[in-house]
């Protein structure tokens, strides 16, 4: 591991492993580096090992093997220093429904050792920043899912952390709340230089937000790079066509099959990954015309992160999830 980022705002992970009793390796030897101020999207289906990784990096779960430094501190040997450096909003906003937003801020800032006057100031500032100042004195039990997530984010920022862990921060949120959270996270990285480690199972979230993406599946990091790099690596756009006559679908499949392997499509359509790239689109149209197959709809899809996931794992990210039993065990040891 390099020494350059020690005591910095980055994350370095080497051969990190977490095994559970009578279970598989939830995390199986991952290596990754996140630079200061970077938004790193950790993408994978349910049960892939995302949350277990976050628990280890936030010191809430000891690794079975390997090492990790967060903000330059070792997660095993220097747990208190790591915790002072990071903020975290873990899966499901962990809030007390009987306390108000302001009381949550007061508790969090006090436990982090902020002085009394600073507590009020910081709490008010953060509540305003996440757009909850109007609801600060309402009990959290009456907050919407989006409001809870925003409060969760504000709490994670209470002590001005250099590194922020967000574990599936937008799961279950409507698109408006999701977009608002994305904007705030982007601003944190861009303006405040906060490093963000974000887990998600939403492709568009990783695509829109992350500077770099790591794709995890069955505890292994199967791909890593910027979204653009990963898509370029796959490099094959998908063409999807819908025949005007339902009965022509099989003939259309045969024609399109000459241009590449089949991909997921709408129920009435046929889709293939173009082996020769976008330039083959004209040939596709000519081939269908030559076979006198009338086209109702034709669309070219640029490669997506789902295509990357498919290429790396042989499965689509949609529906690739598994129960997260190991991860439940991680937070609640008997």
């Amino acid at each position: 591991m390099s020494n350059g980022s020690q005591r910095g705002g980055g994350i370095e992970v080497e051969a990190l492993v977490r095994e559970f009793k009578n279970g598989p390796r939830a995390v199986d030897g991952i290596d990754l580096e996140v630079a200061q101020g970077e938004i790193y999207g950790f993408l994978g289906p349910n049960g892939a090992g995302k949350s277990t990784t976050v628990l280890m990096l936030t010191t809430l779960l000891p690794p079975t093997a390997g090492s990790a430094r967060v903000g330059g501190f070792d997660v095993v040997a220097e747990g208190p220093q790591v915790r002072a450096t990071i903020g975290a909003a873990l899966q499901e906003a962990a809030l007390d429904p009987l306390l108000t937003g302001r009381e949550h801020m007061r508790l969090q800032t006090a436990l982090h050792g902020l002085g009394k006057s600073e507590r009020e100031e910081r709490g008010g500032e953060l509540l305003e920043r996440v757009g909850l100042d109007y609801a600060a004195d309402r009990k959290v039990g009456g907050y919407s899912g989006g409001m809870k997530r925003r409060l969760d984010l504000a709490l994670a920022l209470a002590h001005r952390p250099r590194i922020l862990f967000l574990d599936e921060p937008t799961t279950g949120l409507d698109i408006q709340s999701r977009t608002a959270l994305w904007e705030e996270v982007s601003r944190l990285a861009a303006e405040d230089g906060v490093t963000v480690f974000l887990t998600t199972q939403y492709l568009e979230e990783a695509d829109a937000l992350a500077n770099r993406v790591g794709i995890i599946d069955h505890g292994h990091l199967v791909a890593e790079g910027t979204p653009a790099e990963l898509k370029a690596e796959i490099g094959r756009p998908t063409v999807e066509a819908v025949p005007r006559e339902e009965g022509e679908r099989e003939r259309m499949r045969a024609v399109l099959g000459r241009f590449g392997e089949q991909a997921g499509s709408s129920p009435r359509g046929v889709a293939v990954r173009l082996e020769g790239g976008e330039s083959q689109l004209a040939e596709v149209v000519r081939a269908l015309d030559a076979e006198q197959i009338a086209i109702e709809h034709l669309q070219l899809h640029a490669p997506s992160l789902d295509d990357v996931f498919l290429a790396k794992t042989g499965r689509s990210l949609e529906g690739a999830g598994e129960p997260e039993s190991g991860e439940t065990e991680a937070v609640a040891p008997a």
Partner: protein, 259 residues
């Protein structure tokens, strides 16, 4: 105690008290249920005072000690259920990510039990006196009685904390309630220890710590200042609290596996 630890305890105590006060469903049964049983027992068992050797001619005064211990049993549930909910919702993980010390967490959580114990004791005593019970130890005795009651409530609260940390579920904590009620029924609850003539019952009641908690409270109500009984009551409550706190601290270390 360092300023940081004191501040942490203060903040968590404030939260615990707020939670208790904002949950009438915790406070009301803890007050109403023992008062209801007091009324039933005082009315139905008053002829027990005719037994030779019964220490008072007011069964109400005798049985008034019971609500203080019954009320403390609710503390097991309330403190334990609150902590179990924190574990289930992940709030404990949120706290674990702060520089929070385990001692602060446990002490702070017991503040809610303390407030509940205080409210209960004042209500039980006031209702009892209005209904005609005696308080032989006088006004100073009332203060000691409230202090003893709060001590018992907090001591039982530590058992709730231990159960929550050990099992991590509110249901498991609530499952303890009937067990503790058995302890209460197998004590000198309804009759003085000397008048429990059934051998096995007498044997169990005489080793049941609840008996001596009841006797300490009764000593203030019936006899005045019986320092031996009072000291034994406080000592037993302190012992339960100390053992409960040690067990809860150990369970917290297991539960909080942070590095």
């Amino acid at each position: 105690m360092s300023g940081g630890l004191r501040n942490q305890i203060g903040q968590l105590a404030r939260r615990s008290v707020l939670r208790t006060l904002r949950q009438p469903a915790q406070i009301v049964p803890a007050i109403v249920f023992p008062m209801f049983l007091l009324a039933v027992n005082a009315g139905g068992l008053k002829d027990a005072t005719n037994l030779p050797g019964f220490p008072t001619d007011s069964y109400l005064t005798f049985i008034l000690a019971v609500p203080f211990v019954q009320g403390a049993l609710f503390s097991v549930m309330n403190s334990g259920t609150d902590l179990a909910r924190d574990i289930e919702t992940g709030f404990l993980n949120r706290l674990a990510l702060t520089p929070l010390r385990g001692a602060a967490l446990l002490s702070g959580l017991l503040a809610g039990s303390l407030v509940l114990g205080l409210v209960q004791a004042v209500v039980y005593l006031t209702v009892g006196l209005i209904a005609g019970a005696e308080l032989a130890a006088g006004a100073a005795g009332a203060l000691v009685l409230v202090a003893l009651s709060v001590t018992i409530t907090v001591a039982f609260g530590t058992i709730g904390l231990f159960a929550a940390l050990r099992f991590g579920s509110g249901e498991a904590v609530q499952g303890l309630f009937p067990v503790f009620f058995v302890f209460l029924f197998l004590s000198a609850m309804a009759l003085p220890l000397d008048l429990l003539t059934t051998d096995w019952f007498h044997a169990i009641a005489s080793v049941n710590p609840v008996t001596y908690l009841l006797e300490a409270i009764r000593s203030l109500l019936i006899e005045g200042w019986e320092l031996d009984q009072l000291a034994l009551g406080f000592a037993i409550a302190a012992a339960i609290g100390t053992i409960g706190m040690a067990a809860a601290s150990s369970a917290l270390k297991t539960r909080l596996v942070r590095t």
